[in-house]
Point group: C2
Chain length 353, copies 2
């Protein structure tokens, strides 16, 4: 159907090797010949067959991403930045989504064995030890995003430090009893956020009663990082911790929305009765006036891609474990007097009147 390199060669009266050199910008070709071939290739609408090239070159110019496909702001934003970073290179993105967690290993196996890609981005997913070694043995570069593994490159948020900062902010506001609602501890970030939170309380000599901690169910594999889980968790907190703590750190903004909904229902006013700090800074955090820790998602994506490409091109080796800092964004939900934020944000519609 479409023109092949042979068609071009025949029409130009040259060998296929010469055509190949022409289209690949090889220096070993006469400039005149090259121009002539290129003209003819153009005329024939010739385009190299990507798969054939890959096979011959042993280079696919494709990178695979393994993503837990929950409809979550985090993953979209991340993918977007990955795409953007990639679009400046010559790599295509192929998407492997893991919807059921138990298929994770099978998916990763496929990525490994099919050799369709030059490198892999694994997002928010733990990697079993066996697999890390498989990747290394296969010589397939991997960068983990939002997760960690000793043997593999990774880019993640400084979760511990972020949680520490969130708690510290509440403490700085004068709160002495602070609760936490967290995702399920099978989630790596959830674990770290809890650690950071506890550390902050400790360092300020504050006690922590476990009744003030609610850990969401890991239902549906989302590790409890969704609105419904936050809603349920807040109801549980109200039930088990009486009176409520004056402040609450919630491990993610989506959960926070659920918390706000439950609070509203129970007549708990925010921030008057309960100061709230979230984590992520999703799009709607601004809308509801939520104080939160902003994740530099775009930077993570960009950084992971940059690193991966370097690895693929063999330009870099050695360990690579980057932790990016989350930034405290102060809005209304924590009841902070100082409004650090810019005007449009302070004008935000917030839940409490």
């Amino acid at each position: 159907m479409a023109a092949t390199i042979y068609d071009v060669a025949k029409k130009a009266g040259v060998g296929i090797g010469t055509v190949s050199r022409a289209i690949n910008n090889s220096p070993h070709i006469n400039v005149g010949t090259k121009a002539r071939i290129l003209a003819i290739a153009n005329e024939l609408h010739y385009q190299p067959h990507a798969l054939a090239q890959s096979l011959a070159r042993k280079k696919t110019n494709t990178i695979a991403s393994v993503v837990p496909f929950f409809t979550n702001y985090f993953y979209v934003e991340l993918l977007k930045s990955v795409q953007r970073a990639l679009s400046r290179s010559h790599y295509d993105l192929i998407l492997f989504s893991v919807d059921r967690m138990n298929r994770r290993d099978r998916t990763i196996d496929r990525v490994l064995s099919e050799r369709r890609c030059d490198g892999v981005l694994i997002i928010s997913l733990g990697v079993m030890d066996g697999y890390a070694e498989k990747f290394i043995a296969a010589g397939l570069p991997v960068v983990l995003i939002d997760h960690m593994h000793q043997a593999l490159d990774s880019v993640a948020i400084a979760n511990r430090e972020g949680a520490f900062a969130a708690a510290s902010h509440l403490i700085g506001l004068g709160h002495r009893r602070i609760g936490m609602i967290n995702g399920h501890l099978s989630s790596y970030p959830a674990k770290l956020r809890l650690e950071g939170f506890r550390l902050a309380l400790e360092m300020h000599g504050l006690d922590f009663d476990d009744r003030d901690l609610v850990i969401c169910d890991a239902k549906a594999g989302e590790h409890g990082f969704n609105e419904a889980a936050g809603y349920a968790a807040m109801q549980r907190l109200i039930a088990q911790s009486h009176p409520l703590p004056g402040a609450l750190f919630v491990a993610s903004d989506v959960q926070c929305l659920g918390v706000m909904r439950a609070a509203k229902e129970a007549g708990v006013r925010i921030p008057q009765d309960l100061a709230l700090v979230g984590f992520d800074d999703i799009e709607f955090a601004k809308f509801v006036g939520l104080t939160t820790m902003r994740q530099p998602i775009a930077a993570m994506g960009r950084m992971a891609v940059t690193r991966l490409l370097k690895r693929i091109e063999g330009r870099e080796n050695g360990d690579f474990h980057r932790e990016l800092e989350a930034e405290l964004i102060v809005r209304e939900s924590c009841g902070s007097r100082q409004a650090f934020h810019v005007r449009t944000e302070s004008d935000t519609v917030s839940q409490q009147v």
Copy 2:
């Protein structure tokens, strides 16, 4: 590095053709031989090289999706359902994102020429006439999602009817003067929604003053479908239309959020002063109690994939233009007395107290 078909053949003491037949479930092979070969293949961790297979078979088992990569709930949800539908088949998904609109044609050209895929999903993007013919000439099946083209298959929302229903709902509530905030008319859905809206007013013998219509700038290529554009549009409406209409149809929920923010600032209460109906039913519509037209996004994705696969497998031809109906979801923002919605939704936290 990895085992090839030759390695397996040698170790099993058979020819490569036999190995190929074994792993491809060909009926022309002795069951015993097949079992033996499979065992050896397994032992050698043999996995066929996907690219080599594709090249030999002239079949890539990959489908490409061209997506305008705005961080928008709509695209995520759609991609998710596409992925889910695809995961039941043996197709991989390769993502081509168009961030700058002017690169759209170039991206589509690449998809066409590289022959990396067996079919294409084009999401929310218009296709120039020349391209439709190119796809057809190349024998590359295409399904358009959220858009239309005479010559290509498509799956879209019944935008006109949806807008009609939204407007009708407001009219049914007793409103006689209804405004509209729309995305830029270069967007196909925006155009249709305006048509449906106008039609509803006409059919009820209501006048429409153009001052009650605000069309967002197409800034950043998002056709004005974002929160900031909605905010600006609402400010313009307040400025140019005095007194405000009692009801407002907004072409998308994200814009609605901006509208609510602007309304709040201007002291316009929702729904008391202004009844609001949106379009899309994004995740946060529920949270803010927004009445809206729900798009069956997941169904669109599923349907598009199903159709595409059928086309690829040559099981179906002929025209295919499916329009799915949007469903009216009544919440608080329209001030409707009848609450059709389920309990949890009526308990939603809403912007107005």
